[in-house]
């Protein structure tokens, strides 16, 4: 079985090398049969990697502990879902998942575009397959998941495996890594289109039109991956945070920031034919940061809570990154003539300039995070001493940047394309501006003193107001014409320009998430050692430990504290935080208990017992507004899905009667 898996990886590698060569030669020498052969190689690679993945999953599910990967990442008592999730629980498996997802994307792209983009297709295939070759080198020669355990020359098996890391035995972990990888891997497709367009010196924006929806879907995957990771950290790590500026968390945020900048600036290219170089740089940076993210997760170059795998594969990633950076830079620099803007910026007060600002701010945030993430490794390389960068640095850099972005979210919709009149801008800003100022004054009167929180709350209201006003104004115009009610008009308005209004819905989701982030300024916590029957107070909650229980399953032993929660004498709920001890890996993890409410979460972590074993250690937290992060995220998903729906109407210029206009308006061109 393991031989079959290794053979499939080896043949896939050979075919990927062949696909690169045949597609490039076929494209360069105009040999369509060679290009067709390269396309078939793409399908064959998908088939071979599917077989390899199937064999690994089968080994995990059936407990084939002759394989080193299965012995290290699975055990008999683990539930089936986590046995399956062990596919990406370790380094070799997750690299195979990367490869397999890439082969899926490649096969889909080649099939969907089999009769299109004849010019760029060979180079698109070559770009996809170069990436595939790189990952297959890792799969087949460096980190093979099909290595067997052996004593001398004899294959052996251990009676049971170590099991998946207990921190990964959580339902979101079955979705979070694949989602993140779908995002990471997916960006290779727009990047490959961009490279194909550059190599063949395409003048139009065909690659952008083709990849627009694709990029949006990938961005959604990446967003889902990041937020599921945040949810996992919140519910599993036991310290109540959803974001700790961990290097691997940062690594997932970096391509998200550049991809978000790309999604915005690409609109400027579509509408005005501007920012073409910028878009090439952004999509290339996004792809490179995706590879970089995988490198950070898998190389162990920086210490992280995600350092589930540490190895020497870093040098392979660095070499690949260096090659891609070199080739991409060369292509962009030598094709600058083809990337000239069709128009120029007419006014600073315009939508295109707001998109440019937005992109610059996102890039600034990206660079600040990148610097903070790499600083320990850089400082170690230069001075020999590792200087760690904590969350304070990232917060100090990113909170003001985030607030400015929030401000731009509010201002963006008020700008028109090309130029905006100052008078209308003043008029449109006035009411939401006053409302936000009054809101901040009311909060200050209520005793809120945190400066960033006040600014954030004010800006949240400002943005919600401006977005709501956009919907209202547009819907009112439609309602006046059609005579339908406001709700119908809002739906109609959104359907007429799904991209614009879907985008506003996404922005609304982001604002709600900011509301949730701002709540962190008012977090409260207490750690208490209590006996059964003992009680303590946190904020307005009274927490009484009613009982302590213990139990055992095949996979883990557990201790559970039953905590009764009351407020002002009236009982609210009963929470049961748990402490688990996983037998195979001999690790203890927490299973927190959370009381979710819109205004705040009450979060209990059973941290274990005091040294003498007489008292339970309970960590209690109050997290105001945190639920709005998850609500905002759901709205973000909804808005992105709306963006993917084709718009109902298209502007049809009055072509039939354009002759008169041509004659009248265009004498100079004659």
């Amino acid at each position: 079985m393991e031989n079959l898996g290794s053979l499939a990886l080896l043949i896939a590698f050979c075919l990927a090398v062949y696909a690169v060569a045949s597609s490039v030669i076929g494209g360069w020498a105009h040999k369509p049969l060679l290009v067709l052969s390269a396309k078939r190689a793409v399908y064959a690679i998908w088939f071979l990697l599917t077989i390899a993945s199937f064999l690994l999953v089968h080994a995990l599910l059936s407990g084939d502990f002759r394989l080193a990967y299965v012995a290290a990442n699975s055990n008999r008592a683990m539930p089936g879902l986590y046995k399956f999730a062990a596919w990406w629980g370790g380094q070799e498996g997750s690299l195979l998942l990367w490869s397999w997802l890439l082969s899926c994307y490649s096969a889909i792209v080649v099939y969907v575009n089999r009769a299109k983009h004849r010019g760029i297709m060979p180079y698109l295939i070559a770009t996809l397959m170069v990436t595939q070759v790189f990952f297959l080198i890792l799969n087949a020669f460096v980190a093979s998941p099909f290595r067997v355990l052996a004593v001398g020359r004899e294959i052996t098996a251990v009676p049971d495996g170590n099991g998946l890391n207990p921190l990964l035995q959580y339902w979101a972990m079955a979705i979070h890594p694949p989602m993140l990888y779908l995002g990471y891997v997916g960006f290779v497709v727009p990047f490959a289109f961009a490279m194909g367009s550059l190599i063949t010196r395409q003048q139009g924006d065909a690659w952008i039109h083709t990849t627009r929806r694709w990029t949006l879907v990938i961005w959604l995957f990446l967003s889902c991956g990041i937020l599921l990771g945040a949810g996992w950290a919140y519910a599993v790590l036991g310290w109540g945070g959803y974001w700790g500026w961990d290097p691997v968390e940062n690594a997932s945020l970096l391509p998200w920031l550049t991809a978000t900048a790309f999604l915005h600036s690409v609109m400027v290219q579509e509408k005005r034919g501007m920012m073409k170089v910028w878009n090439m740089v952004l999509i290339s940076a996004t792809f490179l940061l995706c590879i970089f993210g995988t490198f950070l997760t898998r190389s162990g170059v920086v210490s992280s809570v995600h350092a589930f795998a540490e190895s020497s594969i870093g040098k392979y990633f660095l070499s690949f990154l260096a090659i891609v950076i070199g080739v991409t830079s060369y292509l962009i620099i030598t094709r600058l003539d083809y990337l000239k803007s069709d128009a120029r910026m007419e006014s600073v007060i315009s939508r295109e300039s707001s998109f440019l600002f937005n992109a610059l701010i996102l890039i600034a945030s990206c660079l600040a995070i990148l610097w903070g993430t790499l600083f320990p490794a850089i400082s170690q390389a230069i001075t020999g001493e590792k200087i760690s960068v904590d969350a304070t640095f990232f917060n100090r850099m990113n909170v003001p940047i985030g607030l400015f972005l929030l401000f731009l979210l509010g201002m963006g919709p008020l700008f028109a394309w090309r130029r905006t009149s100052l008078e209308s801008l003043r008029r449109n800003v006035f009411v939401p501006g006053i409302a936000a100022a009054l809101f901040v004054a009311a909060l200050m009167a209520a005793g809120v003193r945190h400066p960033y929180a006040l600014v954030s709350f004010g800006l949240c209201l400002f943005v919600i107001w401006t977005i709501a006003a956009e919907f209202y104004k547009g819907a009112r115009a439609i309602g006046a014409r059609t005579g339908r009610n406001l709700l119908f008009s809002v739906v109609e308005l959104t359907h007429r320009n799904t991209r614009r209004y879907g985008g506003y819905i996404v922005h609304m989701g982001v604002v709600l998430m900011f509301l949730g982030f701002t709540g962190a300024a008012f977090n409260k916590q207490a750690t208490m050692e209590v006996n059964v029957g003992g009680a303590f107070t946190l904020d307005h909650y009274v927490l009484r430990v009613a009982s302590l229980r213990e139990g055992d399953t095949d996979n883990y032993a557990w201790d559970r504290a039953v905590v009764e929660v009351s407020r002002n004498g009236s009982p609210l709920s009963r929470l049961e935080p748990e402490r688990r001890f996983y037998k195979a890996s001999r690790q203890a993890v927490s299973e927190v208990a959370i009381r979710h409410r819109l205004d705040e979460d009450l979060y209990l972590n059973f941290a274990g017992f005091t040294e003498d074993g007489s008292k339970a250690v309970i960590q209690a937290y109050v997290f105001p507004l945190v639920s709005w992060i998850w609500i905002g995220f759901l709205i973000l998903i909804m808005g992105t899905l709306v963006c993917l729906v084709p718009s109902k109407t298209k502007f049809q210029p009055p072509q039939t009667h354009m002759a008169g206009a041509t004659r009248e308006y265009a004498p100079a061109s004659k």
Binding site: L4, A44, H657, S669
Partner: protein
Amino acid sequence: MTILTAILIVTGSILYTLLVHKKDLLEPERPSPVAPLEEYKERIANSLRDLQFDYRVNKLSEHDYEQAKLGLENELARVAAEIDKVLGKSAERVDQGFSPAQVKETSRQTACPRCGARFSQPLKFCGECGSPIQRSAS
């Protein structure tokens, strides 16, 4: 069994990749000679739509709107003419276009009976308020 499966998978994958014939080639799409122009035209058309919408929701001054609209319409006309030229139909549109008198007549003809907006080319519907415009309305 494993060896047989391995042989089948390897030979199948390699033969599928290498054995390609001319009859397997799909008829490629015929690239339009005016594709970039059509793309540009669509971009201008979308810009016009955005411009009208932005003006309707008071993001633009009257002056900026008129100026931008005129510029876009000029550009649209120029691109339309260029497309025709490439397709070999330029004569009808530009070189043998309407006489100045006809153009003047055309301009005079189109004013919206409802909102009073004036348009230099005949329209079936008002670009401002959407009301139907009849030729006789002038």
